[in-house]
Symmetry: C2
Subunit: 353 residues, 2 copies
């Protein structure tokens, strides 16, 4: 993600992600209200509720989500507990990778927040908190980020070599499978880590950027925006700005699971029970209302850092100028792709084994 | 403090502060070993020990201090508890003001640390943690930072107007008293906040940059380095780079208490018992071994941000060039001032009222 709060920052270009929590708000409120068993959550004896956002980036989305969660838990406690009972204090942990711009995150923390804030740097594929120290976990539009690009897709000797492409939109099943396998591994490590960190009975709400439940095969792969970006990179390579091998060796560490795939992986993991799972009516149309300029900046805020570290920063302006043009010429924005969607999952942490 | 890890950064110019923890190490180890009552600390039932460094800046000093504390507590637990008892997990909170460079702090976190790390942005004059959530607090070379410059010293209508000076080294008792009063208020708010955050029986180790126990009067005020810096600013003003009123209205929010003063203020607060208090043999000579160039960079790393926000960044190079020259010409480095010292205080948190 692009740090800071400038024109091309994530903070200023995350309208897509912002909509997500709005759409999920009611369900989250309902589920916390029904399923969060305040009285029986272990470790609440000290009267502190600890919440973490995994993959918070820089806000303001994370602040909005945390506010919804804190307020909902407070309301529930007010209703449930006796008048004499003291309202717990809230401690909210903002987690993201070490390279996240925590300085910008901290500088923009809401003044009137009802919680103590802390930033936790580190990959959410590993444990980042002491055992049984969190009561509620949240992660929105983050699980599609893989811990790494599957090695074989960048290996010219592998049948999964992803030549000339930057995501799994090509015609090779091997590439797709390599990405799917990596996602399965990553989701498992994510769930295992959270199962350690959450108290027994703790809840976790996930908003997962996913694809429709079509039978998985190459032709249905969505996110054509990355195909366009890949073709811009190939154009620049062909014009001699860099070798085409540079594109061959670049792959975006992202994967978008189908809801069924997600469900099967969570059930296989066994650390959590699925309390609710829903495909949310999150119209891609809303995402596609911006013009090609805004859309190009949106994608740039998302993955410029990755591109820069591979291709250098000098080509970024030209790359995104061309990208904007291709998006404009394509039918991407006028014919929104109905196969991309958002899946909401509410999980409850089972007793640790 | 200057962020980042460049030539003029705090990270690269905090040798003075680094020495402090080295000198205090043995005492901290001894005191944790004798005074930290692991079994009776409340809130350890969840088997998590929480430690915070208040005013951590960017490291590496804070990492070194936290490592000493974590290792010492671990050793104590290993000795004290039965073999079957599980070693607790450690969670270390790095606190500093919102403007601190947390990005650099997080990027340089030790890979092999034995604790979960979190950054907590916010002034240590306010509560930054839930009640009774910390077991050990630490603060090194930070309490001399005031929450604000006492208002009267920047007020031309006040008898405490600090005209032409940037700290309380002038001949006005009113200026000195305004600074001393602000320190008393700030120390009280610091102790009140920590008393809320620490569990009953929790310990707090403070390393306080202080002055000798001379009868307090203007002539004994130390830290001549700031007097030199002030005179450089006045020189620049007289040469027309800015108005002298700019210097009149600039005051550094720092105050260095005597050990007796510190003791009296802690006793007045009543939230903590003083378990140990010692003037440490921290030779100013060691501090004064660097040449004038290194010394000027050291002071620059410490207060450039403050100076910049008042005078703008364009004069910084010239200011510190002149400062280095004045330090060189002065007897500051060759005749170390024996009246500046370090006070160690170990406090135990009393039951909350």
């Amino acid at each position: 993600m692009n740090g800071g709060d400038g024109y091309q920052s994530y903070a200023k270009n995350s309208f897509f992600q912002k909509g997500a929590i709005e759409v999920a708000k009611e369900i989250i409120e309902e589920e916390i209200s029904n399923k969060l068993d305040i009285e029986n959550l272990s470790s609440t004896s000290t009267n502190i509720i600890r919440i973490a956002d995994f993959g918070c980036s820089t806000g303001p989305n994370t602040f909005h989500a945390m506010q919804i969660i804190v307020e909902t838990i407070k309301k529930k406690i007010e209703k449930q507990l006796s008048v004499s009972h003291q309202m717990p204090e809230f401690q909210v942990f903002f987690n993201d990778r070490i390279s996240n711009d925590f300085n910008t995150l901290f500088a923009s923390l809401p003044q009137d927040r009802q919680y103590h804030a802390a930033g936790v740097p580190g990959s959410f594929h590993d444990c980042q908190f002491p055992k049984a120290s969190l009561h509620f976990a949240y992660s929105s539009f983050t699980l599609h980020w893989l811990s790494e690009v599957p090695k074989e897709v960048a290996d010219p000797l592998s049948p999964a070599w992803n030549k000339g492409k930057i995501l799994y939109y090509g015609d090779k099943n091997e590439v797709f499978n390599a990405y799917a396998d990596q996602f399965a591994k990553d989701l498992d490590s994510f769930l295992k880590a959270r199962a350690q960190e959450l108290v027994f009975g703790g809840l976790m709400a996930l908003l997962v950027c996913s694809e429709s439940n079509h039978t998985k095969n190459i032709s249905t792969i969505t996110f054509p925006s990355f195909e366009l970006l890949g073709s811009c990179l190939m154009d620049l390579a062909k014009e001699g700005l860099f070798d085409t091998a540079k594109v061959d060796s670049f792959n975006i560490p992202m994967y978008f699971p189908t809801p069924n795939e997600l469900k099967a992986l969570i059930e296989k993991n066994q650390d959590f029970s699925i309390e609710r799972m829903e495909i949310l009516n999150y119209p891609p149309k809303r995402f596609t209302t911006p013009d090609s300029k805004s859309f190009a900046i949106f994608i740039r805020a998302l993955i410029e850092a990755l591109l820069q570290s591979h291709f250098g920063s000098s080509i970024m302006d030209e790359l995104f100028r061309r990208y904007e043009q291709k998006v404009e010429e394509s039918k991407l924005l006028s014919n929104p792709d109905e196969s991309s969607m958002m899946t909401f999952v509410l999980l409850k942490c089972k007793q640790m084994t």
